[in-house]
Symmetry: C2
Subunit: 358 residues, 2 copies
DNA sequence: GCGGTTTAGCAAACCGGTTTAGCGGACCGT
DNA sequence: ACGGTCCGCTAAACCGGTTTGCTAAACCGC
């Protein structure tokens, strides 16, 4: 992978046009500093010579890369195949593009996120799903690059955008409660790497808090038996419900912390001979595009994923300007429950029984 | 978004260590050129000063960006939310990462792919789904950057990786034929931009060719009425089947050119009161992860999407070395039919009738 | 003690742009 | 005719690394 022929540089154009390098630069960047016909002469020659300014050289000189980094603790293979990240990235990408910025994914490189951050040349970073315990946060802050955090409430001193996870989760739980459900299974998201486990402020904890807050008034509490976790994927959801079932859980309703897991749970339920929602109600979280096309369509908590990405970009771009003056801006976006077909009135089993005792 | 404090440069480290800039550079890149203790001294000082070489400066000096570009005619918002691209990108990413390369998405910028190519600083390009008629191909070739094409057979003179679309499509059609189907609807992929329309060598054309080749021996030919196209998305599939139905098509089997469209078609079929596969058989193309989890599980043509991405990277990385000597390497990957639950024996209507005449 | 080879490190050129300070000439009013 | 201002452009410094001679000292055998 070697360059075949040397590409035309600004010096070539300058020589051909009989002007200085500066003039060529001006012709493209600040044409008002040159006379109109000099500009057009230079531009003509440039097109003839097929001159395209080297982006790297430009980055170095301007000390701007016109790139914003998307930092995630997950590897690229899971990022790209995860619909949630897909929608989020789409939001980031459109907003970034509108601002003339490119986006660069920063994911653990050979297992090290730190190394990946070093290699990345970006003007700003959007860190998604990173807790305070991640050393990379300090690394970035020290490097002086502006950044905003997404989906992590731990870093109150940094600008960030979050979603009302507690509220949304509570909505979901209350909905099931109203349908008469009393035996619940929570399918939770397992953090990507071991070091992230038991993070007290992560998405998982916040949603769990929401479930609990809604269930408590009804006298229901979620013990460890009522919670099962796994990777936030379809397979993870299948696995989770299977495991719970195998160890004796007999819920009438499932609170899944992601749509992917909810869909997986629907699938697993079918395998177990359960009809959704007749025998088992399932509510997800996220409201992916896909959620409306499942069979039955998935009842779920909607969160504005794309907008989250766009807001993150907005915050990042606005952030630097009044850096030290104002307190860092925190954005909290609303969630809402979307009732579709995967939830129904509880029918089987005696109501009020929280645990079927195996 | 301004840099707060100037980061430590190689000159700072050199001064602090009492050596030349070159020595610092050597200490990291070619430590064998320095004495062992000088190396460790420089490295210690570098860590103390929290020195991290500026990637951009390095790129400029080495004239390598350690980045490969992923060129697509679609916008980033569709790329990121499309499961096919997701899996493909995941393949590219893992292979690239293994080779120490980052990946950069190159998508139309303000509608212009040319502009996007100019802005991108990459060592090589993987162009996916680009036909010969795209001027960008010429642009890249002229710029001397190595590139490989994916999913386009038009550019035989460039290295590329393709999948046996004809063969796979034929398999799908024959499968339905064997189940007794005679009335077919093809749901095709519509090219992303108007200029790409009617590309004679695109994926759509190849798969259509496969269908036709398999159907012809049975005396069935696909006229325009039997073909409907739309964007390669779930919504596109829904829309397509609805449109076909509305204009009077009454097929017993659907040949969809992508799984997303097939899933959409399943959804639309249900809305129309058709049971899949009892009243309507559907076969997709791609074999996305998702395909095994639909209800019923989707019969589809499997293609090795991830591997396609990996092979593209391999070809790109190997490409430059023996550039002019060998003929450009072409890689053709096999497809196979995966029979699941969305296809069944044709039951309704008189067999042998190709068109129900409204 | 001498020429010849290594070794360790330096100075400077270079990558390809941007940006600042400044210069010569045209134009202006008086 | 003269000093001042404006216009159009240039020369050179700069961004932060890498890489290419090259040199001075150390090492070598004899």
């Amino acid at each position: 992978m070697e360059q075949a022929t040397r590409r035309t540089t600004i010096a070539d154009v300058a020589k051909a046009a009989g002007v200085s390098k500066a003039a060529v630069s001006f012709a493209f960047n600040t044409p008002e500093r040159l006379s109109a016909d000099t500009v057009s002469r230079i531009r003509d020659i440039a097109t003839t010579l097929d001159y395209r300014p080297d982006p790297v050289a430009r980055m170095l000189a301007q000390r701007r890369t016109w790139t914003i980094g998307l930092l995630t603790p997950q590897g690229l293979d899971v990022i790209f195949t995860n619909p949630y990240f897909g929608e989020f990235s789409a939001g980031v990408a459109t907003a970034a593009e509108a601002a003339g910025m490119a986006i660069q994914f920063i994911s653990p490189l050979h297992g090290s996120l730190t190394r990946a951050v070093d290699r990345a040349s970006v003007d700003g970073v959007i860190a998604v799903g990173l807790g305070a315990e991640h050393p990379e946060v300090g690394q970035i802050r020290r490097s002086g690059i502006p950044f905003v955090v997404v989906d992590s409430t731990a870093l109150r001193d940094e600008p960030g955008v979050t979603v009302d996870d507690e509220g949304g989760a509570a909505l979901a739980a209350r909905h099931l409660l109203e349908l008469g459900h009393r035996r619940f299974l929570v399918i939770g998201i397992e953090p990507p790497s071991a070091s992230d486990r038991a993070e007290p402020t992560g998405v998982t904890a916040r949603r769990l808090g929401g479930y609990r807050a809604a269930l408590a008034p009804a006298g229901i509490e979620l013990d460890d038996e009522a919670i099962v976790v796994g990777p936030a994927s379809l397979e993870g959801g299948i696995e989770a419900l299977r495991r719970a079932w195998a160890r004796g859980s007999r819920p009438t309703a499932v609170l899944a912390m992601s749509d992917a897991m909810a869909i997986g749970a629907m699938r697993a339920a079918r395998e177990l001979g359960l009809r959704v929602p007749r025998d088992l109600s399932i509510v997800g979280f996220d409201d992916l595009d896909l959620a409306q096309y499942t069979d039955p369509p998935l009842t779920t908590v909607h969160q504005p994923i794309r907008r989250k990405g766009q807001e993150a970009v907005r915050l990042l771009l606005a952030g630097g300007r009044h850096r030290d003056e104002e307190p860092s801006e925190q954005q909290l976006l609303a969630t809402r429950l979307v009732v579709r077909g995967s939830t129904a009135r509880a029918s089987s089993g005696p109501e009020g029984v929280v645990d079927d005792g195996r």
